[in-house]
Symmetry: C2
Subunit: 230 residues, 2 copies
């Protein structure tokens, strides 16, 4: 059985949890607090970031984008009709463009700020950078999330799913990131109904259940977080 | 003929210039200053970043990592013996791990700071964020580059090329980033001879020539920049 090193509110880890669940894989989940920089974890992934997939045979696959490519190459062909990386060249470019959009750009502009300031800092020692949240970072993230929500709405006004006709990695990456922001109550859903409808569809998938059960100790989610009909 | 939208000192653009040259492709080079946020460029790539490859048939491929995957999938098989993405699963994971290391992590910790502060800001209007360089950012980047150089030395003490037995995308990405830092004279080459020897080998390849001819107007490179025997 594979092991996934993850942090429950690391959005890129959540993306891989969704991918594995959609593939019917049930890995051992090992919680990792990346800011602790554990030696054993740094040996697995010198970059020090979650998620990391450790295959039963010992192969280490670090990083959400790399794990997604790896899982598609090793398991994708068995998913007839449910493969999350398309076959046509132009479609692959579009899925990868949006995958990077959410795993890197949305993370840098929204999720990274909010999760670090509002969640991780509660558990970090002051030596690791813990302490009071930086309100400027939170304000910037709240402005940025509005632009991203509009972009999702723009795409969804033209497509069945974010990258085209089928559910792909791009939908799961976008929804994984939004789920972290939604836990914190920071998604302005009323600003874009099209984006909200898309999120409700992804959120209703069985693969999403374990994410909706995650809780930050001492910090309940926004009231609608686990509500499928929000 | 394909067109590459690039900025000469965008390290991720340099990586794709190297890849195209290694593949024997000669694209039209269109210089783009990403901070100007030209409407026509944002239509090609809403993320607003270089590089972007525009194929003759009209397909737009944005982002260095995505262009690399695309070129391997469309041209890689024709490169018998010189393919820069290996076939074996574990080797592909390692190339992608190191590709992301340089295109994202090294960029965020070193090249992004140095190129923005020392080069781009000279050409930006004050509205776009131009002005005097932020010395704290430059100092941080100079400390970080030392750690990265040691990591390259560590890898090269165990391997023929950065990701294994063959030249791969990982070598070109690492060398592209170091070439920008080297122009500015900020690589502490004396700290790691193993890393320096590897760089000298990559730098001697014909694909590197056009990078070594780039100049920032009014800002000559470090004296050894174009010297193959530095």
């Amino acid at each position: 059985m594979a092991t996934l090193y993850h942090f429950p509110f690391c959005a890129n880890s959540r993306f891989i949890r969704l991918v594995l669940a959609e593939m019917g894989m049930e890995p051992v989940l090992a919680e990792e607090k990346p800011w602790e920089r554990r030696d054993e974890f740094l040996m697995l992934n010198p970059a020090g970031q979650t998620p990391v997939l450790l295959e039963q045979g010992g192969l280490v696959v670090p990083g959400a984008g790399i794990i997604a490519e790896y899982l598609d190459e090793t398991r994708g062909l068995g998913l007839t009709g449910r493969r999350m990386m398309p076959e046509a060249t132009a479609d692959r470019v579009e899925v990868r463009r949006l995958l990077e959009w959410f795993l890197v750009k949305f993370d840098a502009e929204v999720t990274g700020y909010l999760v670090t300031e509002k969640i991780s800092k509660r558990f970090m020692s002051s030596r690791d950078g813990g302490g009071a949240p930086d309100m400027n970072a939170i304000r910037a993230a709240r402005i940025n999330v509005g632009y991203h929500l509009k972009y999702i709405g723009y795409l969804m006004a033209r497509r069945r799913w974010i990258a085209g006709d089928h559910l792909t990695y791009a939908d799961l990456a976008a929804a994984a990131h939004l789920s972290c922001v939604d836990y914190l109550g920071d998604v302005p859903w009323d600003d874009d109904e099209t984006a909200r409808d898309w999120y409700a569809r992804v959120k209703s998938r069985p693969s999403f259940r374990s994410l909706l059960a995650d809780r930050v100790p001492g910090m309940p989610p926004a009231p609608h977080y686990a509500d499928l009909d929000f």
